[in-house]
């Protein structure tokens, strides 16, 4: 017997003296800790054994092994393993083969249901065909004395629920469980079987630590098939579509449920209604957020589309080095020492924005012009400020700059010729941790098409303040600020060049038309050849940029942070009107280009002028005063056509940006332009084919109204505000 004979040896757990070791007990055990361990996870322990006072009507106890023994003479019923929503499970020995099996008796209340019997037979047959190392094998099924039963492989082990109850799992262990489950799910999904009730209770680990999924398809089997029962599942693990009778439930419901399980393994809690990224709850690799949140998307189309895809992502995270602040990544949370020390604060997001980003060559001296340095071209990306550093994405490249590596910061300014409005950028100087070289980063928060002068300075100041505060909090040192704005060698985007050329040529043409009153060879060359060429170049440049952007957004590296989770939903709402507007804008543009060409060709005399048209006769011989109205008319019409072309481009670009939830103002303006164009066209339809004009006007009007209605919705307005702050969205 061991009585509280205290020794001088303290208990490693609580520090109190341990009982003296006796001969029979080589290792004394601290009694207080023994009880404490029963307490720790005891609250949720076997609710059947300790029914809480809240359960007023405890379910009737399952039949004891003795009670069912005579119904199953071929088995020796050994023990009742437990009961779930789907039935009662017994551990049994199959006498003929002398093997242990799990005997599941389904829904005892269905004893006399003929339709159930028929469905049971059909489904069970399908399930019995599933043969996979990570799926609990079904040996047999049938009905005896009105009881439907399934004979399954007996898995000698524990279920995942028991492991989670002991506290959250280490991220590595939690992740290791996921790939085999995905593999099994993929296998079953390919055979057309959906589990519908993935939850920790159904994920078993045997004595060798292998994972097996139990109860495949049982949820569907037990459901009635006519409404509510069909949705059978376990509410916290049910995908949103499982709760909605009108929506189709497919294999992606299993992916959602597995997402809930993963979330629970990582954090020890189930996801709340307002989903919080796991990394905000516990210290884990932030990339896991993306995996978990993607699986937990409310809309099935946004989740992983296959279990295989889920698996690939998880495995990539398992093999890749962790994306964590370097001083924290190497702390193994499993070691006893680490769990004693208070955990460092979890990395938290401070500020994020879409931005034009550029990496500058090592700067010469702070605050001076760096004329000799090579020109830099900003590209569209994002900047995210975390409590431990900056994550900067520019193009396809993503870099991390730890706060500790920052050496200075301040305003940055492009040279006056590149930015006459003197737009401010945020400049940061840091020592590259990889190369040890000093480098600079400049970025401009937001990626609007046009920025009013004076609006960039306050935003830059805001970012600089946040950056300095974060740096102070992380390192305790103050981050020095450059005394004067750093004039960095910005190179205007080369894609802008054709646009500028086009606009210049167009202005020149209007001027020439006015002064000459007619078109000479030079003007015609400009109009018919050069101007369309620059225009085509501009269009190609724009299309290339758009394509690059689309590709980037499709790349899996672009993370979708929790704040942006509703954005894809809004984006899907906006997509159709934006597309309509883009099509209409594009057609208008095409019309404008053809019109301009026709104007040039008419002037050249290659095609006959429209009767009553203007500006086609030589006016050089006519006195200026007499010819003035014609000159003004000609220039105005040409100018108007150019302007129209401009608005068409504006509508097109706005529509494309609207699809990405950018520039709501531009999109509204475009919608209004389309409506005005439509109304004008409708009112003044004439010419050889008035019905074509009327039809097109109606389409323009409709597209404009549709886009406007969608843009005025409250949720869409909110999404437009939020989208620029969400990188990658």
């Amino acid at each position: 017997m061991n009585h509280p004979a205290s020794s001088s040896v303290p208990c490693p757990e609580c520090g109190k003296p341990l009982p003296i070791a006796t001969a029979g007990q080589p290792r004394p055990v601290c009694p207080a800790c023994l009880l404490a361990q029963a307490l720790v996870s005891g609250t949720a322990f076997d609710p059947a054994a300790t029914p809480s006072s809240a359960t007023a009507n405890p379910p009737p106890p399952p039949p004891t092994p003795e009670q069912i023994a005579d119904k199953f003479p071929q088995f020796e019923i050994l023990a009742c393993l437990g009961r779930g929503g789907m039935g009662v499970v017994y551990k049994a020995r199959q006498k003929s083969l002398n093997r242990l099996v799990a005997l599941k008796i389904l829904a005892p209340e269905r004893e006399r249901d003929a339709r159930f019997a028929e469905r049971f037979a059909r489904e069970a047959e399908l399930l019995a065909k599933l043969s996979h190392p990570h799926i609990v094998t079904i040996h047999d099924f049938g009905e005896t004395a009105g009881l439907f039963y399934i004979v399954m492989e007996f898995v000698d082990g524990v279920n995942l629920r028991d492991l989670i109850r002991e506290g959250k799992l280490e991220a590595r262990q939690a992740l290791a469980i996921v790939p085999p489950i995905c593999e099994a799910l993929q296998y079953a999904h390919e055979k057309g079987v959906v589990h519908r009730d993935i939850k920790p209770e159904n994920l078993l680990l045997d004595r060798e630590g292998r994972v097996k999924i139990a109860d495949f398809g049982i949820a569907a089997l037990v459901g009635t098939g006519d409404g509510a029962g069909e949705r059978a599942g376990t509410p916290p693990y049910m995908a949103p579509e499982q709760g909605d009778a009108r929506r189709e439930v497919d294999h992606r419901a299993d992916i959602y449920a597995l997402g809930v399980v993963l979330y629970e393994m990582l954090t020890g809690e189930r996801p709340a209604k307002d989903l919080v990224a796991p990394s905000r709850k516990v210290q884990i690799d932030v990339r896991l957020d993306e995996i978990v949140l993607r699986a937990l998307e409310k809309s099935p189309s946004l989740r992983y589309q296959t279990a295989g895809e889920f698996r690939t992502q998880v495995e990539a995270t398992l093999t890749a080095p962790p994306v964590n602040p370097p001083d924290r990544a190497d702390r193994a949370p499993s070691s006893a020492a680490a769990s004693r020390t208070p955990p460092p604060p979890a990395p938290a997001l401070i500020k994020s924005t879409a931005a034009r980003v550029a990496w500058a060559a090592p700067a010469t001296a702070a605050g001076t012009r760096a004329e000799s340095a090579p020109l830099i071209t900003p590209s569209v990306g994002s900047v995210v400020l975390h409590t431990y550093g900056l994550i900067v994405r520019s193009g396809a490249e993503t870099r991390e700059v730890p706060l500790a590596a920052l050496t200075a910061c301040g305003e940055a300014l492009p040279p006056a010729w590149a930015s006459p409005a003197r737009h401010r950028y945020v400049g940061v100087e840091f020592t590259d941790p990889a190369t040890g070289q000093r480098q600079r980063l400049v970025f401009q928060p937001g990626t609007p098409l046009f920025i009013l002068p004076g609006t960039t300075a306050p935003r830059a100041a805001e970012w600089l303040a946040a950056l300095r505060a974060a740096h102070q909090a992380a390192t305790g040192r103050e981050l020095p600020v450059w005394p004067a704005p750093w004039v960095f060698p910005l190179r205007g985007a080369p894609r802008l060049l054709p646009f500028i050329l086009f606009a210049t040529l167009s202005c020149l043409l209007v001027l020439l038309l006015f002064t000459h009153g007619t078109l000479g060879l030079a003007e015609i060359a400009l109009l018919v050849f050069l101007n369309p060429l620059t225009f085509a170049l501009a269009c190609v440049g724009g299309l290339l940029a758009f394509r690059a952007r689309c590709l980037r957004h499709r790349s899996p590296e672009a993370p979708l942070p929790p704040d942006g989770r509703e954005l894809p939903n809004v984006r899907s709402k906006v997509a159709a009107p934006a597309f309509a507007m883009a099509v209409v804008g594009g057609m208008d543009l095409l019309g404008a280009v053809i019109g301009l060409l026709a104007f040039g060709l008419m002037a050249f005399g290659l095609i006959p002028p429209i009767p009553g048209g203007v500006g086609t006769e030589g006016l050089s011989d006519v006195p200026l005063l007499v010819s003035l109205p014609t000159r003004v008319m000609t220039a105005a019409i040409f100018g108007w056509m150019l302007l129209w072309m401009g608005t068409c481009v504006f509508v097109l670009v706005s529509a494309l940006r609207m699809q990405r939830l950018r520039s709501r103002g531009g999109a509204i303006a475009s919608a209004v332009i389309l409506m005005v164009q439509g109304s004008v066209g409708f009112a003044f339809a004439n010419g050889p084919t008035p019905w074509v004009t009327v039809g097109w006007s109606v389409i323009e009007l409709g597209a404009g109204i549709w886009a406007l209605v969608v843009l005025l919705r409250r949720d869409v307005r909110g999404a437009f505000k939020k989208a620029p702050q969400v990188p990658g969205a």
């Binding site: 509280p4 004979a5 757990e13 009694p31 029963a38 492991l163 506290g167 630590g209 006893a336």
Partner: protein, 234 residues
Amino acid sequence: MPTHFATTQWTLIHEAARGGDTAAVAALGALFETYWPPLYRYVRRQGHSAADTEDLVQGFFAHLLRLDGLRLADPDRGRFRAFLLGSLKHYLANQWHREHRLKRGGHDLVLSLDWQNAETGLGLDPADSASGPDALFDREWALALLEKVLADLAASEGDLDFARWKPFLSVGSERLPYAAIAAEFHLTEGAARVAVHRLRKRYRQRLRDEIARTLADPRLVEEELRSLFTALSE
């Protein structure tokens, strides 16, 4: 198991005592065999000699077995532990008047109690003597309970193996050196985790079953577990 709900041993005794059931006598005897050492030491601490204490505890037990004591009004009779201590105090207070009427050893049910063993615990807790005798009683009660649970567990697990696994029962799961366990028992880490978990699960179940045996209402298990833990950690 849900069957506890209506029939904990202590409830059984309660119910049966009204009719003077022999089943109650047997059930009480079973409980008493486990939990008499704390009583013995409690009486010893009151200043009685070893011989007197033996007599007193036997007498108290005889008194209980006659089921007279069970009919005593007790505000806290939901717990066997509290009931036993309350009754014992009551019994000790009255023993002056009863002593001469007691027939020592005159009852027919003799329990095999190892008096010598209960005696050994007495001198060994000088540091604790500052806390009151009631607290010491609770503490010893908890130890007796744990001892029973571990002994039962050892018997069902196989003694030799259990002695090696036992230390892991008192360590928090997140601090368990699974890798070391795996190496020691030639298992994979996953298997070690499962094995430890299962052992802990059985331990908890036994502990709870044992505690439930001493309660009128199994819903109080959690509460009783907490108070026993408090008694041990003081």
